[in-house]
């Protein structure tokens, strides 16, 4: 199978790799770069567990080919803390917004994108903004609280 050469910056580090054109971004992150902080929860882009930022916008990395990220900047959950936890990471911890934690990376990345476009969302806007990310443990109550708390703390990026 033909291969394509891509250059991608992931969490501040630039990588150049030959990849199969069909390689999913999430598999590139996990299997090639060892960035296993981003998990996979489904194969139809419904669950959102694999959400990352591609050039600052949240995408489901199971629905993006690695070659589509050529030249792009990708931020994963592993790149969110900057010396200290991102306000959303802190808020998820403080509000007990995770149990098993499998959805949390995607949930936090999606919430960050939500707050970027809507810095002070209502609870309903939080719920609708995160409806592409499924959690089976928390019933979402504390996720909504966490995003609200992060918004109040001014987490807009």
């Amino acid at each position: 199978m033909s291969r394509a050469n891509i250059t991608v910056t992931v969490d501040g580090v630039t990588y150049t790799d030959d990849v199969e054109p069909r390689l999913l971004l999430v598999h590139y992150l996990r299997d090639r770069l060892g960035k296993t902080g981003t998990p996979i929860g489904c194969d139809t882009s419904n669950c959102g567990a694999c959400t990352v930022h591609l050039n600052g916008e949240s995408v489901k990395s199971c629905a993006v080919l690695a070659i589509q990220a050529d030249g792009a900047e990708v931020t994963t959950i592993e790149g969110m803390a900057d010396g200290q936890w991102h306000p959303l990471q802190q808020a998820f911890h403080s509000e007990h917004a995770l149990q098993c934690g499998y959805c949390s990376p995607g949930m936090i990345m999606a919430a960050a994108d939500l707050l970027r476009s809507n810095p002070r969302p209502s609870d309903q806007e939080i719920r609708e903004g995160l409806e592409g990310n499924l959690c089976r443990c928390t019933g979402y109550e504390n996720i909504v609280r966490a995003v609200r708390r992060a918004a109040e703390a001014g987490a807009t990026s």
Partner: protein, 789 residues
């Protein structure tokens, strides 16, 4: 007294933020699918597209020829070594337990059953090769409706027939209770088939190093799995190590010994290289065991004043194609709870386990108790309507009063404690019950097209999966005790080894709180070890809301033993009598003289040096304990749900939801509240959204999360929660368990609310999930439009 020990005294009951979170919110987790080992190969399974068929040929030559493919195997290749997947719960003496080869050899009995496995250097190549497998089938007729599966004319899933077992229980004279009863109501309820849907798909990594096997698996049950792998494969148990790394949710679905786990071990043994298998979601929907799937016929007899006389339950329970680990026991976990919190004269129960050509069913959050609670709480509302009583008043007339505990129910359960009056009063108050009833009446009188409905669920459940003695009486092969070790390190830090195996429940935090209090050490100084049979050699793992009710008392007991040793050592070091030593504020000291004594860390250091030990005492404070309670624990509570039903569209929206639960004493209220939230959400999922659907050929239609509707944040309401606290008397901590309570309670609360909203139309039931279409059709039918409008 130091500041540390002062703080430590207050750990239990404190909303400690979780230790687990640091790795989970930063992506430093160790999911099974993250594991990479040198030389590791990837497995992909070829699965049956037929619900029922004879395998006529399996040709893997094209798959093997693909570059990068190491091997490919059919079921026949493992026929001599794969054994049969275990069923640990033969519920009757004459139960039919068909052979269940991990990989089908001659016949397939559900869509998704594994027929071959391809092993390649990477997952993409393995998937490409699996697509090249050429398997021929001779179709056999599927068996899809458990109501007709027992007809003589029905095709057979197994040569032995479609009936697995019939299990009965009766207490009191049911005939007498029903004969001449002024009111008898009978209903048929459908417990639809559900897919547990943990967000982490299953994954397995297996290695064979010189005959010593290690299996990493996304499992709830590393200890049980180790024993079962030894029994199934014949590999000596001491040569098997099972590790459950970070596990991304279970809800019962990972309480299983799976074909993929066994086959990973067999493949690594054949190839001598590490292998990994990670399921896709669609593969998981097909082949992770399903939950529920019952038809329930329930009859209730009462006097005109609402007093219950008797209850009769007849269940058909879909086993699916095979009996897995605890498949036949699941419906029976509800058998003793249909009578719930109510007093009555007689009760009879029958359950028939039926084979169909579908994925086997097994434990899913609540496991038998949600089904029982649904049926009794639904029919209590129907009875109230029949009698013209308020449904809360009917419940109050029949429930066990708080001063009557301990109380032996008509199903022979001994409820140790409870206070249904208190929980209900608190729920009523938080909900604004009377005001909502008034609003409902007004809107009904006005003919409001959007109707208000109020749903009630005064549930109880039996949890704390133990006691071994009772499990034995029920025919279960395993025990129910739990084990713990508490080790005090030379520097005064503490390691707690638990046999519980958390996958979201926060045991690392809660057990740390418990030990900090018991030993007077700092929360931060306690580390909890779990989930690896080499680190935690004994245990019965996490399911059935058992961890706090069985696991925590084992830790408590181990701490007591540590303290007993510490006391002896203190007495020796102070040259005092052991009888004069007491433990307070984190120090063992002479009674009345707190200055004269030692902390646990100081004593641990003394045992490390061991310069001055009492004669005959080993130089260690470390202690083990096993706890096996005498009885289940019985969480209860009152959940109230208000729904708005748009009679023009059939849309149901939950307007408010109040849950007041009594789970006894609580170690960490934040974790408990989180369990309640998540439990309610899953129960609402069953009520409104979720159903595993097979078509007429036996194909699962709901193979993705686009078709199987796990609710999102936008689909669920906010919950108001509170607790009453009636301690359990069956363990030293007074705890009961909380993992399943929300799920058990919430489904009938929601459906009762919907039916309550529509009762003025003459509607007495909506089949779950109560989708807008079903609600709309029910209204059309009630209006005589036959759903055609």
């Amino acid at each position: 007294m130091t500041a540390d020990t002062q703080a430590a005294q207050a750990e239990q009951g404190r909303a400690r933020l979780r230790k687990e979170d640091a790795r989970l919110v930063t992506g430093q987790t160790n999911w099974t699918d993250n594991i990479v080992l040198p030389g590791m190969l990837h497995m992909v399974f070829v699965r049956s597209p037929m619900a029922h068929a004879r395998i006529t040929s399996v040709d893997l030559s094209a798959a093997r020829a693909l570059p990068g493919v190491i091997a490919a195997f059919s079921g026949a290749d493992f026929a001599d070594e794969q054994g049969s997947l275990p069923c640990a719960w033969p519920v009757t003496e004459d139960i039919v337990i068909p052979a269940h080869p991990p990989m089908a050899v001659e016949e397939v009995r559900y869509v998704g059953e594994a027929v071959a496995v391809v092993v390649a250097r990477d997952r993409y190549t393995a998937a490409d090769a699996a697509a090249l497998a050429d398997v021929s089938y001779e179709p056999l007729p599927p068996v899809l409706d458990l109501r007709t599966a027992l007809d003589e004319s029905s095709p057979k899933v197994h040569a032995e027939g479609n009936k697995s077992f019939e299990w009965v229980f009766a207490q009191g004279d049911a005939d007498e209770a029903f004969r001449g009863a002024p009111v008898v109501i009978e209903r048929n309820y459908r417990q639809q088939r559900l897919i547990p849907s943990a967000i982490e798909p299953r994954a397995v990594v297996a290695t064979d190093v010189g005959g010593e096997f290690t299996l990493w698996s996304s499992t709830q049950i590393p200890h049980v799995l180790r024993v079962m792998l030894a029994l199934v494969t014949g590999i000596p148990e001491q040569n098997i190590r099972v590790i459950a790394p970070d596990v991304g949710g279970g809800f019962g679905s990972k309480l299983q010994v799976t074909a993929e786990e066994v086959l990973a071990v067999l493949v690594t043994r054949k190839l001598g290289r590490p292998v990994k298998w990670t399921e896709s979601r669609s593969e998981g929907n097909l082949t992770v065991h399903h939950g529920r799937d019952q038809w329930q016929r329930i009859r209730i007899a009462a006097d005109r004043d609402g007093r219950l006389r008797g209850l009769s339950v007849d269940l058909l329970a879909d086993m699916g194609a095979y009996l897995m680990l605890v498949t036949p026991g699941i419906p029976l976990l509800g058998a003793f709870l249909y009578n719930s919190i109510y007093k009555m004269d007689a009760y009879s129960f029958r359950c028939t386990g039926v084979f169909t050509t579908k994925m086997p069913t097994d434990a899913y959050r609540g496991a038998g108790r949600p089904e029982a609670t649904f049926a009794i709480e639904r029919i209590m509302d129907e009875l109230a309507a029949e009698l013209g009583m308020d449904p809360l008043q009917l419940r109050e007339r029949n429930w066990i009063r708080h001063e009557e505990f301990p109380y032996t129910t008509i199903s022979n359960m001994e409820y140790d404690s409870g206070n249904y009056e208190a929980a209900t009063a608190r729920a009523r108050e938080l909900f604004g019950y009377d005001a909502l009833r008034q609003e409902q009446n007004e809107r009904n009188l006005d003919g409001d097209p959007v109707r208000l409905g109020i749903g009630i669920s005064t549930y109880i459940e039996a949890c704390g999966w133990a006691p071994s003695r009772i499990l034995g009486q029920l025919g279960y092969a395993g025990g129910g005790w739990e084990h713990a070790s508490v080790r005090v390190l030379p520097t005064g830090k503490v390691e707690v080894v638990t046999g519980t195996s958390p996958h979201g429940q926060g045991h690392e935090t809660a057990w740390s709180q418990l030990v900090a209090d018991q030993l007077g050490v700092a929360f931060e100084d306690v580390r909890v070890l779990h989930g690896d049979t080499q680190v935690s050699p004994k245990g019965f793992d996490t399911y059935g809301s058992r961890s706090v009710a069985v696991g925590a008392p084992a830790i408590f007991s181990a701490c007591e033993k540590v303290l007993a040793k510490a006391k002896r050592l203190t007495a020796h070091m102070l040259e005092a009598s052991e009888n004069d030593i007491e433990f307070s504020d984190g120090r063992l000291h002479v009674r009345g003289d707190p200055e004269k004594g030692y902390s646990i860390p100081e004593l641990a250091l003394a045992t490390f040096a061991a310069h001055n030990m009492p004669s005959g005492m080993e130089p260690s404070l470390d202690s083990d304990a096993t706890f096996d309670p005498e009885n289940f624990s019985f969480p209860h509570g009152t959940h109230l749900c208000a729904v708005e039903v748009d009679t023009e569209t059939g849309q149901v929206s939950i307007r408010s939801y109040v849950a007041v639960d009594d789970v006894g004493k609580v170690i960490n209220p934040m974790i408990v509240e989180g369990q309640v939230h998540g439990g309610i959400a899953q129960g609402i999922g069953q009520a409104l959204y979720e159903e595993a659907v097979y078509d007429d050929d036996g194909n699962l239609v709901t193979t993705t999360l686009a078709d199987y509707l796990v609710p999102s944040a936008a689909d669920l309401p906010s919950y108001v929660t509170d607790r009453t606290e009636t301690p359990a008397t069956t363990n030293p901590l007074g705890v009961k368990g909380v993992g399943e309570a929300g799920t058990i309670a919430s489904t009938p609360a929601v459906v009762n609310a919907i039916v309550d909203a529509l009762r003025p139309f003459g509607i007495t039931d909506i089949t779950m999930p109560c989708t807008p279409e079903r609600v709309w059709r029910a209204i059309q039918n009630a209006r005589g439009n036959g759903g055609a409008a």
